[in-house]
């Protein structure tokens, strides 16, 4: 079973605000899922290369041109000011 503190730490890294009930649920569920995944320990993997992408691919390139208009994208933001996305203050 993973520790409650660990669940809280992971939630903070993931920027997820969890309440106490959720924390307890995920503690139980994550432990169960990680327990299942443990079976990977049985596979012999010395000298095996990793795969991050199923095929060797070549980069597809294009001109670096803006696609949807800036105005359109800005209109989706919850708060904007003078053509910028506005956020709460970062510096205290």
């Amino acid at each position: 079973m993973i520790k409650k503190e660990e669940v809280k730490h992971i939630a903070k890294l993931a920027r997820l605000g969890l309440n106490e009930k959720e924390t307890a649920t995920y503690q139980k569920e994550l432990s169960l899922i990680l327990g299942y995944i443990e079976k990977l320990k049985k596979v012999k993997l010395t000298g095996v290369e990793t795969t991050s992408h199923p095929f060797q691919v070549e980069n597809v390139t294009r001109r670096d041109e803006g696609r949807p208009s800036k105005q359109k994208l800005l209109s989706l933001a919850p708060e904007t000011k003078a053509g910028f996305v506005k956020v709460k203050s970062i510096l205290k």
Binding site: I10, E29, P54, P78, K88
Partner: protein, 470 residues
């Protein structure tokens, strides 16, 4: 004539021969939606006005004597994680409940060039995370064959829409079985193309080394027509690949089909096993050579998948921050509060579960034990398939070990839900194309046969699908 029961080819020919109009086709689908979708809930958005306007446009093109592309005037439903400009795209999440797509996905551009009629957007598990379409923030979709059961997921809305004739075909996405499983549960054909065969530009990213867009249709032939319309390299998706081979005639006689022995062990429903073996027997009678093959890492593939998938998801979903777009909770005192509260309240339980799992397996101290190990197991799974494909042309398996389960049966047991994907995830880890083909029923519940092919050999598995139907 039952218009909504027609295949794409039949509908296309009917339009050309003026047996009916595109407007009538569209109206027939809209009527079906009105009649059935209150109970099934396949659609999150129906664009009646724009669909009817597009149908009228196709009719006027036809009246002008224009020779129209195959998909012109044929009504289609789109999974709600694929962007259609000007239409809401929610990914079935509260965090994108009011998000209006600012551009078209490449697959949508391609359908629009063919003058397709887009009916609306279909339900899914939130961000495509799930196997039952119960994880939608807007309520579950139900299986048209038995309303007390799930349609499979995550493209459950798309599969249910096609199965109940509310749309002629649909687009879905498949990260670990999300096209094939609902196709199997709803009794339609579903194709997961080779990784990179179809552009993913405009698909809401989930697990980028696994995601692929593909068609759900009434028949393998229809699935092929749609696949050919949406496939191809795209400058806007750097992982897209130009097809290496053109479709060609294949000889069924002498074709070698592998049956992986690891797929017919404990855990599989006896009735499914029987139905699948009967289907394999039919192919054998047609002259297909049946060969036993071994995929020894099958048991580990699911574990590797449930590390790689949440890891990539946790990175991809970092973009939902309550700042750029989507749901934003700005009540807190600082920026950190905006992140925590927007994401904490905006995401549903399964999405948070996967973000937590992925963040854990990528975090310092666990990265080597989980993520790195999973990537090595992925290599072993690829080697398994390469070895098998030296002996055979295609591989035949069940799509799912179990029949469509009851709504609510597995929602509180995430692990048992994950196990539903045991036969489908390897295909995504290896990047292969695979078709789920309806081959029978147990009672009123459909059973799907999975036909797995080698990279870019969609034509081969589709040909096998088509021959079964004749």
């Amino acid at each position: 004539m039952n218009l909504t029961g027609l295949t794409i080819t039949q509908a296309h020919q009917g339009l050309r021969k003026k047996q009916f109009s595109a407007l009538e086709l569209c109206q027939a689908c809209l009527n079906k939606i009105k009649e059935k979708d209150r109970a099934i809930h396949a659609f999150l958005t129906v664009n009646e006005k724009s669909a009817l306007a597009q149908a009228k446009k196709v009719d006027s093109l036809l009246a002008g004597g224009k020779k129209l592309p195959l998909l012109a005037g044929i009504p289609v439903a789109i999974k709600d994680n694929i962007l259609v400009e000007g239409v809401k795209c929610t990914a079935a999440s509260k965090i994108l409940a009011d998000y209006v797509a600012p551009y078209n996905a490449t697959v949508i551009e391609k359908l629009k060039k063919q003058e397709a009629v887009i009916l609306g957007k279909t339900n899914l598990d939130e961000f495509a995370m799930g196997s039952s379409t119960e994880n939608s923030a807007f309520g579950p979709t139900r299986n048209p064959h038995d309303l007390s059961r799930v349609p499979g997921g995550s493209s459950g809305g798309s599969a249910a829409a096609v199965a109940s004739e509310m749309a002629f075909y649909a687009l879905g996405s498949d990260t670990g079985g999300s096209i094939r499983l609902p196709a199997s549960f709803c009794g339609v054909a579903g194709l997961k193309p080779t990784y990179g065969a179809v552009s993913r530009y405009g698909l809401i990213a989930f697990a980028s080394s696994l995601d692929q867009i593909g068609p759900l249709a009434k028949t393998a032939e229809d699935a092929q027509l749609v696949f050919e319309a949406i496939a191809g390299e795209d400058a806007l998706d750097s992982t897209s690949i130009a097809p290496k081979s053109k479709a060609r005639n294949i000889k069924i006689k002498g074709l070698r089909a592998g049956i992986p022995k690891e797929y017919f062990v404990k855990g599989i429903d006896k009735n499914i096993e029987k139905t699948i073996k009967e289907a394999i027997g039919k192919y054998e009678k047609m002259g297909v050579k049946i060969v036993e093959v071994s995929l020894p890492h099958t048991d580990y593939a699911l574990s590797a998948y449930y590390i790689i998938n949440p890891s990539e998801a946790s990175a991809n979903l970092a973009r939902y921050d309550g700042i750029k777009y989507g749901y934003s909770d700005r009540q807190g005192k600082d920026l950190m509060d905006v992140y925590l509260n927007s994401r904490g309240k905006g995401f549903g339980a399964e999405v948070k579960r996967r973000i937590m799992l992925g963040t854990y397996t990528l975090s310092s101290g666990y990265y080597e034990a989980y993520y790195l190990k999973a990537q090595k197991v992925r290599t072993k799974v690829i080697e398994d398939f390469k070895k098998a494909f030296k002996k055979v042309d295609v591989i035949l398996t069940p799509t799912s070990p179990s029949l469509p389960f009851k709504v609510g049966e597995k929602v509180n047991n995430p692990l048992s839900m994950y196990l539903t994907d045991v036969y489908t995830v390897s295909v995504n880890l290896v990047g292969l194309p695979a078709l789920s083909l309806p081959v029978g029923k147990v009672g009123k519940l459909p059973v799907g046969l999975q036909i797995i092919g080698q990279p870019f050999e969609e034509y081969k598995i589709l040909e096998l699908g088509k021959i079964y139907e004749y």
